[in-house]
Point group: C2
Chain length 420, copies 2
């Protein structure tokens, strides 16, 4: 009776998009593929209709329960840190886990488990400063999502890992199966692309060889701003977008993570009942990240749509007449600051594929609002208010965790930390 | 509304029980402790009664759902490999995850997610041979538990990790809250202790310095047999015991894993509504493991009850008149071979603690039945039917994965592997 919704590898260690032992996603996919069961024949299913089925690579699994009409929807994800601020890293991990529920239009989460590994290469002091902040970030984001972390597991490992398991039991009306796009629909994206490019470019500020390759097209200040924008974008929940999927009658959606906008668009296209294809015309990208990717040759493949994102936006198929209203509504102050959406393409008749047109329009996005948080305009020396610690995250990667937030926020977190 | 059931660190990398960076469980516990929320006041709860609450260190979290009277029960665990056979390692990991549900008397599981990390130190050949077997072992054990693996996540990591998330939605009658022991109850244990000692002793066959310390009290053959017994014991589901908890009116239970029999008995004692304490008189131990632990001085603390176990048995508080019947019933052939249970102690009036008496009786257990599987009596050279591969699992640990099963089983698995 159980139906499939397998996750592929979307996490790669920090240190650049193509390390020598870069995961071969096809190989990992092969490991999971053997798990998938064929859907049960209709006569085995109460009511005679097959229950919802999700294919490999989609966001959550949907399990019909033994109890009247309810479904169990759940998802798991875990990550290696990609930003320097452990609190924000915790928020980002939680936002990314929840995003798989949001992609199905689910706005509630009944339970969150946290998966954590502490690096055994950290000193006691590093561990005691970094890990509680990461846990707090994760917990705060869960709270913002209306749920709590009630359990989890913590182990030691060479690398830090943070992730979780989000679970909800819901009525069929609470979720939108990602399979009903029709020709004429419009594709909407709710966060800008380029998060991984921004994170990498920011690491290159400390790597003269790499920095020399991009310094002609971008300033240090622009990289700092892009990194801040990426960090706050990744930490923003897709919950508002999930709610508006119902308001505006969305036909299908997915969230953009490790396979990039095109990879996830292709996965979504494959799931469709109707003979449709997705054509992407516009690429909203964090300001200057398109220039960096061009300066780096083929390294990032951002303009090809296959640059991995972390905690990206929802890609939603909406009826044509609803798309503009969706994009206007999501910016309403009643949902708080920081929400945006762009119409990026169309759904046409086709063979369940997705593509980006030859010369897509690049929409430079440089105005991610970060309410209440001071954004340092340039890289600075640590002050007394910073927690400055260093830790080897992976072979060859040296990350400095440095909190760059105002001291009042700092005190608040410090107090929480000491209570733990 | 969410209630707590936090897991502590129970996984340590292979290579002996006290590596130099051995996890300080208190520290990891501290990280999770900040997550725990106080239970909601009674007036916030439908019906006015507080919903079930589980404290830190118990086995699963129990979440009251928005849908009439149902509870979400779930648990997550992940592990570093401890046995050489990847197929058995997969079974053991799954048995250990499910065990947290079984400890609550739950016999069904609605969904299983698998968490997997592939070691990036493995060659392609090693990866392609080892990982599908581990996945198959995990999946087969899930199937034996009446559930399927419908999703999960796979990443690369320095070390192999395998684990999962088990979830069930159930009526209150389906689970037994671990908190109703009364003075006069009897403690029953459903698997022998000493799994980690057996796994370590087996590694020492290849470590002359370590082997010299124990060779006076144990033969190579005895270590091989103990290792086989430990492996099959760890791979056995506690599902039958969970079902019999209902039949024989169990008052509370937990499963024995990383904190050893005494650690988990203490955790369970703390959860009790009544003023009770647990006193352990008997220690059922895999044959010869008590002798090894004595020969090693304080290394294992097996006789102190704090030697970590992997996928251990259930420790169950049963009414006195039911305990012997429970132990007789679980051996019935109708549940298949391989099930045992021992009366190991009593529940008396006390202050919610647990202890082992001064000179506990050691019950040597050497008769774990492994139906249908040929047990090699002594370590042997690999044959053509073995998959022989080697992989560094952690700094200083070199494990040889070698399938030691008959060739007919082998062919079956090989075929499955090639289909993937």
């Amino acid at each position: 009776m159980s139906l499939a919704g397998l996750r592929l590898c979307e996490a790669a260690p920090p240190g650049g998009p193509r390390p020598p032992w870069s995961p071969a996603q096809e190989t990992l996919l092969g490991l999971l593929a053997g798990l998938q069961q064929p859907p049960p024949p209709a006569e085995d299913v109460p009511g005679g209709f097959p229950a919802p089925t999700l294919g490999i690579g989609m966001d959550s699994c949907v399990i019909p329960l033994r109890h009247g009409g309810l479904s169990l929807v759940q998802t798991t994800d875990f990550f290696y840190p990609s930003v320097e601020d452990p609190y924000m890293q915790g928020r980002i991990a939680c936002a990314n886990v929840l995003s798989d529920l949001y992609a199905m239009g689910i706005t509630e989460c009944d339970n969150m488990l946290m998966l954590l590994s502490v690096s055994q290469k950290m000193s006691e002091e590093e561990r005691d400063k970094i890990m509680p902040l990461m846990v707090k970030g994760f917990r705060d984001a869960a709270e913002e999502g209306g749920t709590s972390v009630t359990g989890g597991q913590t182990v030691y490992n060479p690398w830090i890992i943070i992730g979780g398991v989000a679970t909800v039991v819901c009525q069929p009306s609470e979720f939108i199966m990602p399979e009903n796009a029709v020709p004429g629909d419009v594709l909407v994206l709710t966060k800008p692309l380029g998060t991984q490019v921004a994170v990498n470019a920011h690491q290159w500020l400390d790597n003269p060889e790499r920095w020399n390759k991009i310094k002609l097209v971008v300033s240090e200040e622009e990289v700092e701003l892009a990194y801040q924008e990426a960090m706050y974008s990744m930490a923003t929940l897709n919950r508002t977008a999930a709610g508006l999927m119902h308001t505006f009658n969305a036909h299908a959606a997915t969230d953009i993570t490790g396979f990039g906008i095109l990879g996830h668009a292709q996965n979504l296209a494959k799931q469709q009942h109707n003979e449709v294809s997705f054509v992407i015309h516009n690429l909203p990208i964090i300001a200057k990240m398109a220039a960096i990717t061009k300066a780096c040759g083929n390294r990032f493949k951002l303009l090809h749509g296959t640059s991995p994102e972390t905690s990206g936006g929802l890609l939603i198929c909406l009826p044509r007449e609803q798309a503009a209203r969706f994009c206007a509504e999501i910016k309403s102050p009643k949902y708080g600051e920081g929400h945006q959406a762009w119409i990026i393409g169309i759904v046409e008749k086709g063979n369940r594929t997705a593509r980006i047109i030859d010369k897509p329009r690049i929409i430079e996005d440089g105005a991610w609002p970060c309410s209440g948080v001071e954004q340092p305009a340039v890289r600075r020396e640590p002050s007394d208010n910073d927690i400055v610690v260093s830790v080897h995250l992976s072979p060859g990667t040296f990350a400095v965790f440095m909190k760059q937030l105002p001291s009042n926020t700092m005190d608040d977190r410090g107090a929480v930390e000491s209570r733990q």
